[in-house]
Amino acid sequence: MNDPIITINGLNKTYEGGFQALTHIDLTIQRGEIFALLGPNGAGKTTLISVVCGLVNPTAGHVLVDGFDNITHFRQARERIGLVPQELTNEAFETVWNTVSFSRGLFGKAPNPEHIEKVLKSLALWDKRNNRLMTLSGGMKRRVLIAKALSHEPRILFLDEPTAGVDVELRREMWEVVRQLRDNGVTIILTTHYIEEAEEMADRIGVINRGELVLVEEKAALMSKLGSKQLTLNLHSPLTDMPANLQRFELSLAAEGYELIYTYDGSQDEDGHGISELLTALEREEITFKDLNTRQSSLEDIFVDLVKERA
């Protein structure tokens, strides 16, 4: 797949006062994908989104949105983008219907009540259309922000921490909404603290730390490349020393010798250090076990390792 919808080249942002928020960011977002941008607080996620959306002036570099420079051809670039900000920012006294209709007009589109109705229904806001925003719950307000961003039928949707402060049920509902949008051809770029969110939804993952894009990788490839697995065997009798025959495996002992832990990443099978070889070797040494379990490192583990590694 090589059909870029956003191309970022050499992007730098240094704020007044000297803080460098972004350092030479090069990134391409493919049409129709869900791209998750991960990073700790202050890593530069929101600044990156803000530069692409026109909220922050870049110090250097260029952003192309569907082939249009986001500064020199800002109209064509911005009309393709919908932005859901991190903060719950709303005109408190407006009704849901009015504020969503306002957004459509602001983005240069003629009134289209049918589309607004469709958007509100898809986000379960239809019953609240005449409510003032100040009367809505936090989750509802966040949905309104999504509705506003979708009101002008964007091809690209930026979700800046979309489920921050949202309960588990609503979070899962929002994931479903995002998937539906992707199915309808909308490219999604989301920033999140919730690794689970990226793991659940993203096609590709970018990790940003201290303003630098540390890596960009397909989620599955990232998990397989950097994710390690662990097999834990609960032994009948404790081991005090590692038998010589088992030295070639990456093993460790825990729980006073009752747990034998084998760490592997899937490549050991090829060089004869895989699980089946380990089990054969254990049988040969007459080491028996009563239970076993496996654990695969999550994206969170990978993320923490990456960030720690570069700190």
Partner: protein
């Protein structure tokens, strides 16, 4: 130019006026009526005519100008300050809308409200004093130009202000004193020569004088000076707004 965003901003701002009708329209009308009761009827009856115009009628253009200036500044500054304050300005800044369209939407709405208010006050004053408008075209020209210019100033103040106190600072400490000292309630001929000269440094003098001329054909300064001053002020505001958007001052980091 895309008319949809302009319409969206304009209608949203006008809807805010409808929601706050008491504060936006009724309150200034009541204030002006009180001025008429106090200065027009109570005190005005003891003051002789000024250049052949009764005192009550003489202050009508000044009162309209006073309201026009303060309301234009206050409406426009609040209109752009509130999205900044609530954070919803992100939407305005990320929309495919030019700076000119943003200004037309916000300033157009603020100026419309002020013009409407000016006309309501004019009609209200007709209930208290006999009115004549010698030059209706010029009266409307001054009304519109002043409303637009001071709405532009209000827009600048709204962007500059970083809190509600600063939002009130310029209207209370600059606009109101300049208007009171700008000949709203007197002719500058009534001042000693030294203060007449000092008063000429007050730009509001030119606005009130030109506006009063459009009613009664009497003025403190020439029509050309009045038109020149309001045009100069308009251009200065436009240049300032152009600079704000070019640099992103207080809008874009």
């Amino acid at each position: 130019m895309n008319l949809h965003p302009i319409r969206a901003i304009y209608m949203a701002e006008m809807a805010r006026t409808r929601r706050t009708l008491l504060q936006s329209i009724v309150s200034p009308v009541i204030s002006t009526s009180l001025y008429f009761v106090v200065f027009g009827a109570a005190i005005g009856s003891r003051i002789s005519e000024i250049n052949g115009v009764s005192y009550g009628a003489f202050i009508v253009p000044g009162l309209i100008m006073l309201m026009l200036l303060t309301q234009s500044v206050s409406n426009a500054s609040f209109g752009i300050f509130f999205p900044k304050f609530s954070g919803s300005i992100y939407e305005l800044l990320s929309a495919p809308i030019s700076h000119l369209e943003i200004v037309i939407g916000y300033v157009g709405a603020a100026a419309s409200k002020s013009i409407l208010l000016g006309l309501i006050i004019l009609a209200t004053s007709g209930l208290f004093v006999p009115l004549e408008i010698a030059h209706p075209f010029w009266m409307l020209t001054f009304l519109v130009l002043t409303a637009v210019t001071f709405s532009l100033l209000g827009f600048i103040i709204g962007i500059w202000a970083d809190g509600f106190d600063r939002l009130q600072l310029v209207p209370l400490l600059v606009i109101t004193p300049l208007t009171f000292l700008g000949g709203s309630f007197y002719s500058i001929d009534m001042l000693p020569p030294f203060w007449q000269t000092v008063t000429l440094a007050n730009p509001v003098v030119y606005l009130v004088s030109g506006f009063r001329w459009s009613f009664y054909g009497i003025s403190d300064v020439s029509l050309a000076a009045s038109v020149g001053m309001i045009t100069l002020f308009l251009v200065a505001c436009l240049v300032a707004i152009g600079w704000i958007f070019r640099t992103g001052y207080r809008l874009k980091p």
